[in-house]
């Protein structure tokens, strides 16, 4: 901004006869106003809102794909068990119950996918709470009491997800994930002082946690892709065996199943590709939020890409619902 031309004392006072100190106060305040607005204004809440909405869209998309993984795996388990000549049914019955605990000799494969879906849901809830907290803080509507309550819920969700993660890792005998967690101290400082710089620092403090979350979701898209490919082969084999079997449903029904399977598979791969792109951009978009909060940059190209991916994922999910 170009500063206004310097004025003489007479100009600036306009012939006011008030004492010098009092006369200068409004001018000084006017000069300081942009600076005060700079550090205390709400922080482009729209940007944080877009971040949260995109995260929510991707979470829904990934959970839908993981649910499909569970569903397809379960179908394959059903066919396999049904086709075994001497099916060990006793292995698939619940035994040794005690309160809410129970055991089973052989858990079908879909049970493992189901556990992964549960873990994903826990992780998503935690990350959603974080993005929601950022959105509320940026809108400047938060009292410290409200913040403490929301931060408590966030930490509780993160702890639950990490506990779940440890258990799953221990079951595989491969150790727990690196202990990166969310931190809310910096965010609290921002609520108390409303300095944009504090929000930027708080976002940077949480960057490793965001990196880890995005990497895990990205890896899950690859796992789902491999799972679906394998489950596709299972279902295709079933159709192939039925094709020449005179007792099974007519070929029109089988052909319809084959086309439906191919439609589903193609749609799933398209969604997974978008999701993989989304989770690759997520850490960059989060880092850009920190830069925007610190006024180091005005726009966020990664966030724009994130919003676009989020919209695409929602569109694909709707298309899939129409097919079904």
């Amino acid at each position: 901004m170009i500063p206004p031309p310097a004025k003489t004392e007479e100009d600036s006072t306009g012939g006011d006869s008030r004492p010098r100190g009092v006369r200068e106060t409004p001018a000084t305040l006017l000069m300081l106003l942009p600076l005060m607005l700079w550090s205390c204004a709400t922080l482009r809440p729209k940007v944080f809102q877009s971040f949260q909405e995109s995260v929510q869209a991707a979470q829904k998309g990934l959970e839908t794909e993981m649910s499909r993984d569970v569903e397809w795996t379960r179908e394959a388990d059903v066919y396999r068990l049904a086709e075994l000549k001497e099916a060990p049914l006793s292995h698939y019955m619940v035994k040794e119950t005690s309160g809410y605990a129970w055991t089973m000799e052989a858990k079908p494969l879909y049970w493992t996918s189901r556990q992964t879906l549960r873990l994903l849901q826990d992780m998503n809830v935690a990350f959603f709470r974080y993005s929601q907290l950022l959105r509320t803080l940026a809108a400047g509507e938060e009292s410290i009491e409200d913040f403490d309550r929301l931060a408590g819920v966030l930490r509780e969700n993160v702890d639950r997800a990490q506990e779940h993660m440890k258990k799953q890792g221990a079951a595989a005998g491969v150790g727990a994930a690196a202990g990166v967690s969310v931190t809310t101290e910096g965010l609290r400082r921002f609520v108390l002082q409303r300095r944009a710089k504090d929000l930027s620092v708080a976002l940077n403090d949480n960057q490793p946690w965001v990196d880890q979350y995005a990497a895990q979701c990205g890896r899950l898209t690859v796992i789902i892709r491999a799972d679906l490919k394998s489950a596709y082969a299972d279902q295709m084999e079933f159709l192939y065996l039925r094709w020449d079997d005179k007792r099974s449903p007519g070929r029109v029904t089988l052909t319809r199943s084959l086309f439906n399977l191919n439609d589903d598979y193609a749609q799933a791969l398209e969604t997974l590709e978008s999701l993989e792109g989304f989770y690759a951009r997520l850490p960059i978009a989060h880092a850009e939020l920190a830069s925007i909060a610190a006024r180091r940059q005005k726009s966020s190209p990664a966030l724009a890409g994130l919003v676009e991916s989020g919209e695409r994922i929602v569109r694909l999910s709707r298309e899939l619902e129409k097919i079904k």
Partner: protein, 118 residues
């Protein structure tokens, strides 16, 4: 794009091999080569068993930092990838059942070793 972990890489390679085997078995049936069809279907069942084992492990390891913990699988996973691609090419070129089966046998042996390495 996300680079697959050794486990997911190996899993996807086995799934590719299974799909190729299934397609070739169907092709053999259409060509009325019952012996080849049966052999391929048996190999496909063997692959499925290995795939199911790996899938279980992959899901359990997802919660942990599997990239570092399961280093030993890396070599086997990479080799499986190469073999699986070769299998697909051979099926497409129909170079002959003997070579195709040899590749499949190597894949199965490797998958077995991969399981032992766990």
């Amino acid at each position: 794009m996300t680079s697959p972990t050794p486990l997911t890489g190996a899993l996807e390679a086995l799934a590719d091999a299974r799909l190729s085997t299934l397609q070739t078995a169907r092709w053999a049936q259409e060509k009325k080569d019952k012996a080849l069809e049966k052999t391929l279907r048996d190999k496909g069942a063997g692959l499925k068993t290995e795939i199911d084992r790996l899938r279980r492990l992959t899901h359990q390891a997802w919660g942990a930092d599997a990239r570092h913990a399961i280093k030993r699988l890396e070599t086997a996973g990479a080799r499986l990838n190469v073999l699986s691609r070769r299998l697909t090419k051979r099926r497409q070129a129909v170079l002959g059942a003997t070579r195709l089966l040899a590749t499949l046998n190597t894949i199965l042996a490797l998958a077995g070793r991969l399981r032992m390495n766990k």
